[in-house]
Protein backbone atom coordinates (compact mmCIF):
# COMPACT_ATOMS: atom_id res chain seq x y z
CA UNK A 1 0.00 0.00 0.00
CA UNK A 2 1.22 3.48 -0.84
CA UNK A 3 2.30 5.45 2.17
CA UNK A 4 0.62 8.78 2.65
CA UNK A 5 2.46 11.89 3.76
CA UNK A 6 1.15 14.36 6.35
CA UNK A 7 -0.47 16.60 3.73
CA UNK A 8 -2.28 13.67 2.14
CA UNK A 9 -3.56 12.55 5.55
CA UNK A 10 -4.94 16.04 6.16
CA UNK A 11 -6.68 15.79 2.77
CA UNK A 12 -8.04 12.38 3.72
CA UNK A 13 -9.40 13.64 7.06
CA UNK A 14 -10.89 16.61 5.24
CA UNK A 15 -13.27 14.19 3.53
CA UNK A 16 -14.89 13.26 6.87
CA UNK A 17 -18.09 15.26 7.34
CA UNK A 18 -19.14 16.64 10.71
CA UNK A 19 -21.80 14.10 11.81
CA UNK A 20 -24.15 16.87 12.95
CA UNK A 21 -23.42 19.48 10.28
CA UNK A 22 -22.40 17.41 7.24
CA UNK A 23 -21.94 20.49 5.05
CA UNK A 24 -18.47 20.98 6.53
CA UNK A 25 -15.66 18.57 7.35
CA UNK A 26 -14.17 17.91 10.76
CA UNK A 27 -10.99 19.61 9.53
CA UNK A 28 -12.91 22.74 8.50
CA UNK A 29 -14.69 22.67 11.86
CA UNK A 30 -11.30 22.83 13.56
CA UNK A 31 -11.64 19.57 15.50
CA UNK A 32 -8.50 18.01 13.96
CA UNK A 33 -5.57 19.86 15.52
CA UNK A 34 -2.46 18.02 14.50
CA UNK A 35 -1.23 15.07 12.43
CA UNK A 36 2.14 13.40 12.99
CA UNK A 37 3.63 10.32 11.40
CA UNK A 38 6.19 8.02 12.97
CA UNK A 39 6.91 4.77 11.11
CA UNK A 40 3.49 3.48 10.18
CA UNK A 41 1.71 5.07 13.12
CA UNK A 42 -0.35 8.17 12.46
CA UNK A 43 -0.95 10.29 15.52
CA UNK A 44 -3.94 12.58 15.28
CA UNK A 45 -4.89 15.18 17.90
CA UNK A 46 -8.56 16.05 18.09
CA UNK A 47 -10.31 18.55 20.36
CA UNK A 48 -13.98 18.70 21.39
CA UNK A 49 -16.09 21.65 20.24
CA UNK A 50 -18.07 21.64 23.51
CA UNK A 51 -16.90 19.58 26.52
CA UNK A 52 -19.89 17.27 26.32
CA UNK A 53 -20.32 17.11 22.56
CA UNK A 54 -21.68 13.60 21.89
CA UNK A 55 -20.40 13.71 18.30
CA UNK A 56 -16.74 13.61 19.34
CA UNK A 57 -16.74 9.83 19.76
CA UNK A 58 -18.24 9.45 16.29
CA UNK A 59 -15.58 11.75 14.81
CA UNK A 60 -12.85 9.75 16.52
CA UNK A 61 -14.29 6.49 15.14
CA UNK A 62 -14.43 7.95 11.64
CA UNK A 63 -10.81 9.15 11.80
CA UNK A 64 -9.73 5.71 12.99
CA UNK A 65 -11.68 3.94 10.22
CA UNK A 66 -10.29 6.21 7.47
CA UNK A 67 -6.71 5.66 8.57
CA UNK A 68 -7.13 1.89 8.97
CA UNK A 69 -8.59 1.66 5.48
CA UNK A 70 -5.58 3.59 4.18
CA UNK A 71 -3.38 0.90 5.74
CA UNK A 72 -2.07 3.00 8.60
CA UNK A 73 -2.12 2.50 12.34
CA UNK A 74 -4.06 5.31 13.98
CA UNK A 75 -3.35 6.70 17.40
CA UNK A 76 -5.88 9.33 18.41
CA UNK A 77 -5.46 11.71 21.29
CA UNK A 78 -8.07 14.11 22.71
CA UNK A 79 -6.57 17.44 23.68
CA UNK A 80 -8.17 20.43 25.41
CA UNK A 81 -5.56 23.09 24.90
CA UNK A 82 -5.96 25.48 23.15
CA UNK A 83 -9.73 25.48 23.65
CA UNK A 84 -11.73 25.12 20.44
CA UNK A 85 -13.13 28.34 19.02
CA UNK A 86 -15.40 29.15 16.08
CA UNK A 87 -12.74 31.70 15.03
CA UNK A 88 -10.80 28.77 13.53
CA UNK A 89 -13.38 28.39 10.78
CA UNK A 90 -12.38 30.10 7.55
CA UNK A 91 -14.59 32.50 5.59
CA UNK A 92 -15.07 29.74 3.04
CA UNK A 93 -16.33 27.36 5.76
CA UNK A 94 -18.68 30.05 7.07
CA UNK A 95 -20.12 30.45 3.59
CA UNK A 96 -20.67 26.67 3.35
CA UNK A 97 -22.65 26.83 6.59
CA UNK A 98 -24.78 29.66 5.27
CA UNK A 99 -25.53 27.88 2.00
CA UNK A 100 -26.48 24.79 4.05
CA UNK A 101 -29.00 26.95 5.97
CA UNK A 102 -27.12 27.65 9.18
CA UNK A 103 -26.19 31.24 9.98
CA UNK A 104 -22.41 31.38 10.61
CA UNK A 105 -21.00 32.61 13.94
CA UNK A 106 -19.67 36.11 14.57
CA UNK A 107 -15.97 36.50 15.37
CA UNK A 108 -15.23 35.77 19.03
CA UNK A 109 -12.30 38.16 18.92
CA UNK A 110 -14.69 41.11 19.08
CA UNK A 111 -16.57 39.76 22.07
CA UNK A 112 -16.19 40.80 25.68
CA UNK A 113 -16.00 37.48 27.48
CA UNK A 114 -17.57 38.59 30.77
CA UNK A 115 -21.01 36.97 31.23
CA UNK A 116 -22.75 40.33 31.75
CA UNK A 117 -20.95 42.21 29.00
CA UNK A 118 -23.19 43.74 26.41
CA UNK A 119 -22.29 41.78 23.32
CA UNK A 120 -25.29 42.80 21.34
CA UNK A 121 -24.13 42.65 17.75
CA UNK A 122 -27.62 43.21 16.45
CA UNK A 123 -29.83 40.66 14.73
CA UNK A 124 -28.28 37.74 12.88
CA UNK A 125 -28.62 37.60 9.11
CA UNK A 126 -31.18 35.04 7.90
CA UNK A 127 -29.30 32.39 5.88
CA UNK A 128 -32.29 31.93 3.58
CA UNK A 129 -33.45 35.43 2.57
CA UNK A 130 -30.48 37.47 3.91
CA UNK A 131 -32.81 39.73 5.92
CA UNK A 132 -31.64 41.18 9.24
CA UNK A 133 -35.22 41.40 10.53
CA UNK A 134 -34.67 38.38 12.80
CA UNK A 135 -34.91 37.55 16.50
CA UNK A 136 -33.15 35.11 18.82
CA UNK A 137 -35.77 32.61 19.99
CA UNK A 138 -33.50 30.44 22.13
CA UNK A 139 -29.83 30.48 23.12
CA UNK A 140 -29.78 26.70 22.84
CA UNK A 141 -30.67 24.50 19.91
CA UNK A 142 -30.69 20.98 18.55
CA UNK A 143 -26.95 20.55 19.14
CA UNK A 144 -24.55 22.09 21.65
CA UNK A 145 -23.07 24.39 19.01
CA UNK A 146 -26.25 26.07 17.74
CA UNK A 147 -28.85 28.66 18.81
CA UNK A 148 -32.36 29.19 17.44
CA UNK A 149 -33.51 32.29 15.58
CA UNK A 150 -36.58 33.34 13.65
CA UNK A 151 -36.76 35.44 10.51
CA UNK A 152 -39.69 37.88 10.44
CA UNK A 153 -39.12 38.54 6.76
CA UNK A 154 -39.41 35.01 5.31
CA UNK A 155 -41.15 33.61 8.41
CA UNK A 156 -38.66 30.77 8.76
CA UNK A 157 -37.01 29.53 11.93
CA UNK A 158 -33.27 29.00 11.46
CA UNK A 159 -30.22 27.95 13.44
CA UNK A 160 -27.05 29.87 14.05
CA UNK A 161 -23.69 28.36 14.82
CA UNK A 162 -23.01 29.93 18.23
CA UNK A 163 -20.06 32.26 18.56
CA UNK A 164 -17.75 30.29 20.88
Amino acid sequence: MVKLDVGEIWDLLNTIPDPEVPAISIVELGVVRDVRISDNVVEVDITPTYSGCPALKNMEDQVRAKLLLAGMTPKIRTIYKPAWTTDWMSDETMEKLRVYGIAPPEKVSFENLHPFANNDKGPVECPFCRSFDTILTSRFGSTACKALHFCNSCCQPFEQFKCH
Binding site: S51, G52, K81, L113, P115, F116, F140, H164
Partner: protein, 255 residues
Protein backbone atom coordinates in the same frame (compact mmCIF):
# COMPACT_ATOMS: atom_id res chain seq x y z
CA UNK B 1 2.75 9.03 44.95
CA UNK B 2 3.83 12.54 45.80
CA UNK B 3 1.86 14.67 48.21
CA UNK B 4 1.27 17.13 45.38
CA UNK B 5 -0.27 14.47 43.13
CA UNK B 6 -2.57 13.27 45.90
CA UNK B 7 -3.74 16.85 46.37
CA UNK B 8 -4.23 17.30 42.61
CA UNK B 9 -6.40 14.19 42.39
CA UNK B 10 -8.56 15.38 45.29
CA UNK B 11 -8.85 18.82 43.67
CA UNK B 12 -9.88 17.40 40.27
CA UNK B 13 -12.47 15.16 41.92
CA UNK B 14 -14.03 18.16 43.67
CA UNK B 15 -14.41 20.05 40.40
CA UNK B 16 -15.64 16.97 38.53
CA UNK B 17 -18.08 16.00 41.30
CA UNK B 18 -19.57 19.51 41.31
CA UNK B 19 -20.10 19.35 37.55
CA UNK B 20 -21.39 15.77 37.49
CA UNK B 21 -23.92 16.14 40.30
CA UNK B 22 -25.11 19.49 38.95
CA UNK B 23 -25.42 17.91 35.48
CA UNK B 24 -27.46 15.01 36.86
CA UNK B 25 -29.81 17.38 38.69
CA UNK B 26 -30.34 19.61 35.67
CA UNK B 27 -30.91 16.55 33.46
CA UNK B 28 -33.98 15.84 35.65
CA UNK B 29 -35.65 18.58 33.60
CA UNK B 30 -35.35 16.64 30.36
CA UNK B 31 -38.90 16.12 29.17
CA UNK B 32 -40.28 18.33 31.96
CA UNK B 33 -39.17 21.83 30.89
CA UNK B 34 -41.75 24.63 31.16
CA UNK B 35 -41.42 25.26 27.41
CA UNK B 36 -39.69 23.25 24.70
CA UNK B 37 -36.84 25.74 24.27
CA UNK B 38 -35.97 25.60 27.98
CA UNK B 39 -36.23 21.83 28.02
CA UNK B 40 -33.61 21.76 25.26
CA UNK B 41 -31.57 24.42 27.03
CA UNK B 42 -31.45 22.34 30.22
CA UNK B 43 -30.27 19.24 28.33
CA UNK B 44 -27.56 21.34 26.67
CA UNK B 45 -26.38 22.84 29.95
CA UNK B 46 -26.36 19.41 31.57
CA UNK B 47 -24.32 18.01 28.70
CA UNK B 48 -21.73 20.80 29.00
CA UNK B 49 -21.38 20.12 32.73
CA UNK B 50 -21.12 16.38 32.15
CA UNK B 51 -18.38 16.96 29.60
CA UNK B 52 -16.47 19.15 32.05
CA UNK B 53 -16.75 16.42 34.69
CA UNK B 54 -15.35 13.84 32.27
CA UNK B 55 -12.29 15.97 31.55
CA UNK B 56 -11.42 16.33 35.23
CA UNK B 57 -12.19 12.66 36.08
CA UNK B 58 -9.98 11.52 33.23
CA UNK B 59 -7.12 13.67 34.49
CA UNK B 60 -7.62 12.33 38.04
CA UNK B 61 -7.42 8.78 36.71
CA UNK B 62 -4.22 9.57 34.80
CA UNK B 63 -2.68 10.99 37.96
CA UNK B 64 -3.81 8.01 40.01
CA UNK B 65 -2.43 5.74 37.30
CA UNK B 66 -4.07 2.51 38.47
CA UNK B 67 -6.44 1.95 35.60
CA UNK B 68 -9.53 3.52 37.19
CA UNK B 69 -11.75 5.03 34.52
CA UNK B 70 -13.94 8.12 34.60
CA UNK B 71 -16.86 5.70 35.07
CA UNK B 72 -15.30 4.37 38.25
CA UNK B 73 -15.40 7.82 39.84
CA UNK B 74 -18.95 8.48 38.70
CA UNK B 75 -20.54 5.12 39.36
CA UNK B 76 -18.53 3.23 41.93
CA UNK B 77 -18.08 5.66 44.78
CA UNK B 78 -20.49 6.20 47.66
CA UNK B 79 -21.77 9.54 48.94
CA UNK B 80 -19.00 9.90 51.53
CA UNK B 81 -16.49 9.88 48.64
CA UNK B 82 -18.19 12.67 46.70
CA UNK B 83 -16.70 16.12 47.16
CA UNK B 84 -19.33 18.32 45.53
CA UNK B 85 -20.86 21.36 47.19
CA UNK B 86 -24.19 20.74 48.93
CA UNK B 87 -25.88 23.36 46.76
CA UNK B 88 -25.61 21.40 43.52
CA UNK B 89 -27.18 18.24 44.97
CA UNK B 90 -30.35 20.03 46.11
CA UNK B 91 -33.36 18.77 44.09
CA UNK B 92 -34.18 20.95 41.11
CA UNK B 93 -37.34 19.47 39.74
CA UNK B 94 -39.71 21.61 41.77
CA UNK B 95 -39.48 25.11 40.37
CA UNK B 96 -37.82 26.35 37.20
CA UNK B 97 -36.80 29.58 38.95
CA UNK B 98 -34.99 27.56 41.62
CA UNK B 99 -32.93 25.83 38.92
CA UNK B 100 -32.10 29.15 37.26
CA UNK B 101 -31.11 30.75 40.57
CA UNK B 102 -28.90 27.77 41.42
CA UNK B 103 -27.29 27.81 37.99
CA UNK B 104 -26.75 31.54 38.36
CA UNK B 105 -25.21 31.52 41.87
CA UNK B 106 -22.95 28.58 41.03
CA UNK B 107 -22.13 29.85 37.58
CA UNK B 108 -20.96 33.27 38.80
CA UNK B 109 -18.56 31.50 41.12
CA UNK B 110 -17.39 29.00 38.50
CA UNK B 111 -16.78 31.80 36.02
CA UNK B 112 -14.40 33.53 38.47
CA UNK B 113 -12.91 30.22 39.61
CA UNK B 114 -12.07 28.99 36.09
CA UNK B 115 -10.80 32.43 35.10
CA UNK B 116 -8.15 32.09 37.83
CA UNK B 117 -7.54 28.43 37.13
CA UNK B 118 -6.69 29.21 33.50
CA UNK B 119 -3.43 30.56 34.95
CA UNK B 120 -2.67 27.31 36.80
CA UNK B 121 0.89 26.05 36.49
CA UNK B 122 -0.61 22.62 35.79
CA UNK B 123 -1.04 22.50 32.00
CA UNK B 124 -3.95 20.05 31.99
CA UNK B 125 -5.90 21.95 34.63
CA UNK B 126 -5.38 25.28 32.88
CA UNK B 127 -6.51 23.72 29.59
CA UNK B 128 -9.66 22.23 31.11
CA UNK B 129 -10.40 25.55 32.85
CA UNK B 130 -10.07 27.48 29.57
CA UNK B 131 -12.46 25.03 27.95
CA UNK B 132 -14.99 25.11 30.81
CA UNK B 133 -15.11 28.88 31.27
CA UNK B 134 -16.56 29.45 27.80
CA UNK B 135 -19.49 27.17 28.53
CA UNK B 136 -20.00 28.48 32.07
CA UNK B 137 -20.09 32.08 30.78
CA UNK B 138 -22.90 31.16 28.41
CA UNK B 139 -24.83 29.42 31.22
CA UNK B 140 -24.52 32.43 33.55
CA UNK B 141 -25.75 34.73 30.80
CA UNK B 142 -28.79 32.52 30.27
CA UNK B 143 -29.56 31.96 33.97
CA UNK B 144 -28.97 35.64 34.82
CA UNK B 145 -31.52 36.71 32.20
CA UNK B 146 -34.10 34.37 33.71
CA UNK B 147 -33.39 35.61 37.26
CA UNK B 148 -34.10 39.17 36.08
CA UNK B 149 -37.12 38.15 34.04
CA UNK B 150 -38.71 36.20 36.88
CA UNK B 151 -37.69 38.61 39.64
CA UNK B 152 -38.92 41.64 37.73
CA UNK B 153 -41.88 39.73 36.31
CA UNK B 154 -45.27 39.02 37.84
CA UNK B 155 -46.07 39.14 41.54
CA UNK B 156 -46.03 35.35 41.70
CA UNK B 157 -42.79 34.86 39.75
CA UNK B 158 -41.15 37.52 41.94
CA UNK B 159 -42.28 35.81 45.13
CA UNK B 160 -41.21 32.38 43.96
CA UNK B 161 -37.73 33.33 42.84
CA UNK B 162 -37.18 35.35 46.01
CA UNK B 163 -38.08 32.18 47.93
CA UNK B 164 -35.57 30.22 45.82
CA UNK B 165 -32.88 32.77 46.58
CA UNK B 166 -33.68 32.53 50.31
CA UNK B 167 -33.49 28.73 50.17
CA UNK B 168 -30.20 28.66 48.27
CA UNK B 169 -28.40 31.43 50.13
CA UNK B 170 -27.39 29.21 53.13
CA UNK B 171 -25.37 27.11 50.65
CA UNK B 172 -23.34 29.99 49.23
CA UNK B 173 -20.60 30.17 51.89
CA UNK B 174 -19.48 26.74 50.81
CA UNK B 175 -18.40 28.14 47.43
CA UNK B 176 -15.40 29.73 49.10
CA UNK B 177 -14.44 26.89 51.45
CA UNK B 178 -10.98 25.42 51.20
CA UNK B 179 -8.58 23.31 53.24
CA UNK B 180 -5.01 21.99 53.27
CA UNK B 181 -5.41 20.54 49.76
CA UNK B 182 -6.00 24.04 48.40
CA UNK B 183 -3.17 25.47 50.46
CA UNK B 184 -0.66 22.99 49.06
CA UNK B 185 -1.77 23.62 45.49
CA UNK B 186 -1.78 27.39 45.99
CA UNK B 187 1.83 27.19 47.20
CA UNK B 188 2.69 25.27 44.04
CA UNK B 189 0.92 27.66 41.69
CA UNK B 190 -1.53 24.97 40.58
CA UNK B 191 -4.56 26.57 42.25
CA UNK B 192 -5.65 29.93 43.64
CA UNK B 193 -7.20 31.30 46.80
CA UNK B 194 -10.98 30.97 46.50
CA UNK B 195 -11.59 33.34 49.39
CA UNK B 196 -10.22 36.15 47.25
CA UNK B 197 -13.10 35.67 44.81
CA UNK B 198 -15.75 36.63 47.38
CA UNK B 199 -15.75 40.39 46.69
CA UNK B 200 -16.09 39.93 42.94
CA UNK B 201 -18.72 37.22 43.34
CA UNK B 202 -20.75 39.49 45.65
CA UNK B 203 -20.57 42.28 43.06
CA UNK B 204 -21.69 40.01 40.20
CA UNK B 205 -24.57 38.55 42.20
CA UNK B 206 -25.62 41.97 43.49
CA UNK B 207 -25.72 43.43 40.01
CA UNK B 208 -28.25 40.89 38.76
CA UNK B 209 -30.22 40.51 41.99
CA UNK B 210 -30.73 44.28 42.13
CA UNK B 211 -31.81 44.35 38.51
CA UNK B 212 -34.24 41.55 39.36
CA UNK B 213 -35.70 43.70 42.21
CA UNK B 214 -34.86 40.92 44.67
CA UNK B 215 -33.34 41.13 48.13
CA UNK B 216 -30.17 39.33 49.21
CA UNK B 217 -30.89 37.45 52.47
CA UNK B 218 -29.15 38.44 55.68
CA UNK B 219 -25.74 36.94 56.36
CA UNK B 220 -26.78 36.28 59.96
CA UNK B 221 -28.09 32.81 59.17
CA UNK B 222 -26.82 29.25 59.46
CA UNK B 223 -24.62 28.32 56.49
CA UNK B 224 -24.36 24.70 55.35
CA UNK B 225 -20.98 23.07 54.91
CA UNK B 226 -19.46 19.64 54.42
CA UNK B 227 -18.95 18.88 50.71
CA UNK B 228 -15.15 18.94 50.71
CA UNK B 229 -15.20 16.43 53.58
CA UNK B 230 -17.79 14.19 51.94
CA UNK B 231 -20.54 15.10 54.42
CA UNK B 232 -23.70 15.64 52.41
CA UNK B 233 -27.38 16.44 52.69
CA UNK B 234 -29.89 13.58 52.57
CA UNK B 235 -30.49 14.21 48.86
CA UNK B 236 -27.18 12.94 47.46
CA UNK B 237 -27.77 9.29 48.41
CA UNK B 238 -31.03 9.18 46.47
CA UNK B 239 -29.43 10.87 43.48
CA UNK B 240 -26.56 8.36 43.42
CA UNK B 241 -28.91 5.41 43.88
CA UNK B 242 -30.69 6.38 40.69
CA UNK B 243 -27.62 7.47 38.73
CA UNK B 244 -25.52 4.43 39.69
CA UNK B 245 -28.22 1.79 39.46
CA UNK B 246 -27.45 0.47 35.99
CA UNK B 247 -23.67 -0.03 36.18
CA UNK B 248 -23.97 -1.53 39.67
CA UNK B 249 -26.87 -3.82 38.79
CA UNK B 250 -25.29 -4.89 35.49
CA UNK B 251 -21.54 -4.72 36.06
CA UNK B 252 -20.76 -5.98 32.57
CA UNK B 253 -22.81 -3.31 30.84
CA UNK B 254 -20.88 -1.27 28.29
CA UNK B 255 -21.86 1.93 26.47
Amino acid sequence: MTELNIALIEYCLRIADNSLIHAQRIADWTGHGPILEEDIAMSNVSLDLLGQARGFYTYASQLEGNGKSEDFYAFHRGERDFRNRLMVEQPDLKDFGFTMMKLFLNGCFDYLFFRDLMKSRDETISGLAAKSIKEVTYHVRHAGDWVVRLGDGTEESHQRIQKSLNELWPFTNELFEQNEVDELLIQNGAAFNKKELKVEWDAMVNEIITKATLIIPSDKIYFHSGGINGVHSEHLGFLLAEMQYLPRMYPDAIW
